[in-house]
Symmetry: C3
Subunit: 506 residues, 3 copies
């Protein structure tokens, strides 16, 4: 027990600290902005069954933060073709439900079609593939560098997904240009245009510029041999027979994929969320005692009457290779939306939910985290700063007034931010938010897997943590004023609108 | 026990190796200097109760090393206003004594005024704040990125503090410009000028260029609401009512801050040092057996008759959150000055004291270390190189002759270095030092938390570790000469002056 | 036991992920190539007993990958003078046998001449030095940053060694220029020329440009005192008396160095290999049970009748400082050549052997790995990509046809690669190889200590891991074609030539 604590505490102590370090710094002077602007996508690529909009990654703010952003809208029965990216990604599901898959190289195909299940020694099953998962509004999906990802909208509501690509993450060993490698199709990858525009010399002058996927550059003979298929299939692999527009294709009859049933039919929505929370509680407890057992057991047991895992009998669990377990069965999505129980909540002010690698271990690999916030009309997020991360904030709903201040005391942003707009809050810059709408909400992507914020006002503020006399003399106040400055605001991060605010005077 | 060893050895093995890696490389070709120069501060900002001098961070040497340097002098009763910085810092106290505080976001206010102590359920104490610590000559204070820091001189002697900011540390996710974010006042941050000079386009043309703190860019209404204070206090928050010059203000009546008493009244200085050493010994022992107990217990007990810790009864110690313990109670200062027992000592040559993350764990977070050296007149530090770090050396006293040699065998520095001057010894460059004064001493900041040096001469030199025949043929010597080259110098790093030197010939 | 598993699994989980991150990214847009080229050395420096050829490190490909390459040929009795480098290195022995040494600062001289062995308390032994090791064809030797390295050819066959310097590794805190620091001689370091050519302003205009070693820039007086030797020896230290050309000198009478005997006299070559394999097996087992015991025990026992280790009695093993053990006795070489048992083998297609930090722990420190491949004529390495590393591939024998495809589907390389040529396969770019010779073989240096590849075709391909319906709709195929695409190729990475290929159709 003591050993566990030692190992764990050493681990937490140092990994917490180290967590902030897995990113490249921006080029010299790239973060010296006079002004930040509310950013909107400047390009839109239409697909058969959806649209991908992109923010210009060469924008000052995004270059300083070292990230690229896109928004993908998928219509009913739309399938986003599989692709991988040269940097880690966080995807936030703004709207809709569906299924997705990540393909981890070297992991087994653990899902197989059920009809062969009872045949014993019969012919091999019709199809096997890696894990398929459901997603829904409010989910964060974590996608590591170089891991193929696909998603599909199996409901009526269009899916809207916001993707952050952390191009300066050191997992990306290429330069900072975001690159999507599609496994199929003949569409241009959505960030290529910025490369052409900015580079002066375009990329595709020579060689066909008809677009293509990562296999379309190989010779027909190579592909024929590699796949052991005929020339016609090779043409399809290269995207030649495909006149469907873009990277989101329509599956008219609906995609037939085995995937575990959602829990919805069995229970109402609120209950589902609660159950998820409780389940996590339980897992947390159990993990402490049996840390080498993976938390997915519960889910697996739930599905086991429908889907059989290949070659993973329960009684051999102890013999497994630890590495495979951890990488192949990592949890890939976590909900932080409105429906989850928030980390901070004030019924008059709003709610906050933060997702770090402590809750969602894959984020340690990515070096990223996320925060979901809802702030009610006229309520305020007190001035604070991000201690160890840049924060890239996307407005999901409504609008709010933002102020961002640099180290010289200048407001580099002082204005409204509306639904669909993005603002970078650079590391250590001070920011305050006042909601202008009752339904204002945002998601903030943070470039550290255990991001920390430091409040400058309120119950947990840095100023409150200073000795009274230091406050008095540093701020040129008398002791009574200093006491007010330290203690008057009784709220932590979210302050209710003035009329409902209980003023506590020390 | 075996488990502990395993965990620890794995940890040491790999973290030792990894330790060197948490810094950005300099821009391309930035370390190709023909000549190094002894550097002095090129700017001085006067304050009401002190001065801050800065070295130009755009100097070749400092850009190659990826650091910025400043020297702060604080007069009696001078308070350096709280500020945080976008990169980790090491502060060496060249002279004086005083108190300081670091404000860790999320940690508790554990110091409270004592008079309320006996009242039980009475009104809440007059003031609570985070830990306040004493510092004295020879201390290294470690300040992580984004953590507010303040200091105060409560004695007669001016405090002189040398600060290294490790701007290329990956904890800094902004660009490499050093930025100080003051919580109060209206002074310009001390490194802003270099930004203006070099950038071509100044930063403060638009918006008031009256200087300011990180709160002065917010609207009055925001601040009123966030702090729940009146408009007059808001003006002070923004620094408007403050005509005191600079970031070091005078506290005429003396700062009233509860802080543990120094040990000095009880005992003489030498004893204090020794006690500190012994105490550390004891801690070391105990740590091995009860690693999740924090080493601050002893100090706490000593003070417990005067200062009560908030909500931390001894009998609940086991229940504490490990993370809070480690981050909120990390040791923040460590003495490496003349008064400490050195790691290497020769009464005819001098003394060396190195501080790494093995002794001072917070340095692991910072990725920095430090070395204090005193070399007596005509004694020599044998040629050596820094294996895994840059070394930024500041002369505290006296002067010495330095030679620095690059990979082409050119002396890029060959000259005197005097009190107050700085020289960068780039990674892997060879350096030798000959003292010109009996009181020559220096502090070297190292950009690795477990820095290693490799001697090129003496008892532990790389040449001595080569097989005799390799030395003979590599250096074109006969075997007897090679034996002399390997064995003649019986000293490790510091060689006494020739007249007193015992020549050992093999 | 559970604790060990916990510690280890936490460690593996996260360190595996982190492993990819210890390198700098290339400068902006540096990886946007239209075309890759097969690279050959563009410079050759002649030495008395050998030659050092260098690839231009300013080439696009090598800059994007952030590495430098050289090839060293050592004639019989040639000694490569000791030098250290500002970045980690992997050396592959393409041909020959010999001995080498690495000098770890702070480690003990554990090899001593045997004749003193029985004298008990007598005079100290004639010579002591750090470990000397044998190398042979197929070895990877790992050399950390700043650690001096020398090697010697004690056989008839010329030694040919390919060295990769990982200049963008964060262990290098200087800029990205490869720098060799020689401890002796007066040769110019082999990468200096590129600095002069590219920099515009040469480095050696002032100061003597006669070349030199890291000691030749010091004053004579400094060196006399530091080594306690006379002026004549000092002249040799500075390389003045040395008219032997270059950094590889001839030892006419042969180098006399105590080193453990090779195992060859006792047994045949095949047996040696097998024994090595078995020995590793055994070690692996033991390590699991007694992980703090070092694996070198066996070898030590074998040699113990000839070479006595200094101050390391077996019964004190438990008391040793863990750090010293790990760093001073790390295994430094590992064979991946033709003679080792491969990780993947198909008698009709070829063989693959990968060396990662899981097998060879020092690679964790270096952040590098390596792969050896042999592909028989007309066999194919299926299209795949490197998930988390750049791959720098050097052809050892024969020739093969390579195709490399970028994210836009363009073939940036489509041609032959011949013996002695180098090609960079950038991270995430797709590549396929078809051998043109029966003896085609290569070594690939990978910039991650646990590199992963993802096949795009074959038994373990990403496409096979996708659900059938996703494949069908993404590739615009009917279900039967999709099934063929997923399942037709029954091979993992290496596909035999078509005539011998067993076509499995689902």
């Amino acid at each position: 027990m003591a050993n566990k604590l030692l190992a764990l505490s050493l681990f937490l102590l140092f990994s917490g600290c180290f967590a902030s370090t897995f990113r490249q710094q921006p080029q010299q002077n790239e973060c010296q902005f006079q002004r930040l602007n509310a950013l909107e996508p400047d390009n839109s690529v239409k697909s058969e069954a959806g649209t991908i909009e992109t923010w210009n990654p060469n924008n000052d703010q995004l270059r300083c933060a070292g990230v690229a952003l896109s928004r993908c809208t998928i219509q009913r029965n739309g399938l986003r073709r599989p692709f991988y990216t040269n940097a880690p990604q966080e995807i936030y599901i703004q709207q809709g439900r569906g299924i997705f898959g990540l393909i981890f190289p070297g992991c087994r195909e653990t899902y197989e079609e059920p009809q062969e299940q009872e045949q014993g020694q019969g012919p091999r099953p019709q199809d096997r593939h890696q894990k398929v998962e459901h997603f829904r509004e409010g989910d964060i999906i974590a996608v590591p560098t170089g891991v193929p990802f696909w998603m599909y909208n199996n409901e009526q509501t269009p899916v809207i997904a916001i993707t952050l690509i952390d191009t300066t993450n050191l997992d990306n060993q290429l330069d900072q240009i975001p690159r999507r490698f599609y496994l199929s199709g003949n569409q241009e990858q959505e960030f290529l245009q910025y490369q052409q525009k900015e580079g002066g010399q375009g990329q595709q002058q020579e060689g066909g510029n008809e677009g293509g996927n990562v296999l379309s550059g190989f010779n027909d003979e190579f592909l024929e041999e590699a796949f052991s298929v005929d020339r016609e299939i090779v043409r399809n692999i290269k995207g030649k027979n495909d006149d469907r527009e873009g990277s989101i294709v329509e599956v008219k009859e609906g995609l037939k994929v085995i995937s575990p049933p959602t829990l919805r039919p069995r229970q109402g929505r609120e209950e589902e969320e609660e159950e998820e929370e409780e389940e996590e509680e339980r897992r947390g407890d159990r993990r402490r005692h049996r840390p080498h057992h993976h938390e997915e057991e519960e889910e697996e047991e739930e599905w086991s009457h429908q889907v059989r895992r290949v070659r993973r009998p329960h009684h051999h669990r102890e013999d497994r290779n630890g590495l495979e377990e951890t990488l192949c069965t990592l949890k890939l999505r976590h909900n932080i939306g409105q429906s989850t129980s928030p980390d901070a909540y004030n019924p008059q002010a709003g709610r906050l939910k933060t997702l770090t690698s402590l809750d969602f271990p894959i984020l340690r690999w990515l070096g990223l985290a996320a925060e979901h916030g809802s702030i009610y009309k006229n309520a305020m997020f007190v001035p604070y700063y991000n201690v160890n991360a840049n924060s890239i904030l996307y407005v999901l709903n409504g609008s709010a007034w933002f102020q961002v201040v640099d180290c010289s005391g200048n407001a580099v942003f002082n204005g409204e931010l509306n639904e669909g707009q993005v603002l970078t809050i650079p590391q250590n810059y001070a920011v305050a938010i006042k909601s202008l709408d009752d339904n204002f909400s945002y998601v903030a992507f943070k470039t550290n897997d255990i991001p920390q914020i430091a409040a400058l006002a309120g119950l947990t503020s840095s100023i409150r943590a200073l000795p009274l006399d230091v406050v008095a003399h540093a701020f040129n106040l008398d002791r009574d004023q200093a006491r007010q400055l330290k203690n008057n605001n009784p709220y932590k991060f979210l302050v209710p609108p003035p009329q409902s605010q209980l003023r506590a005077v020390a």
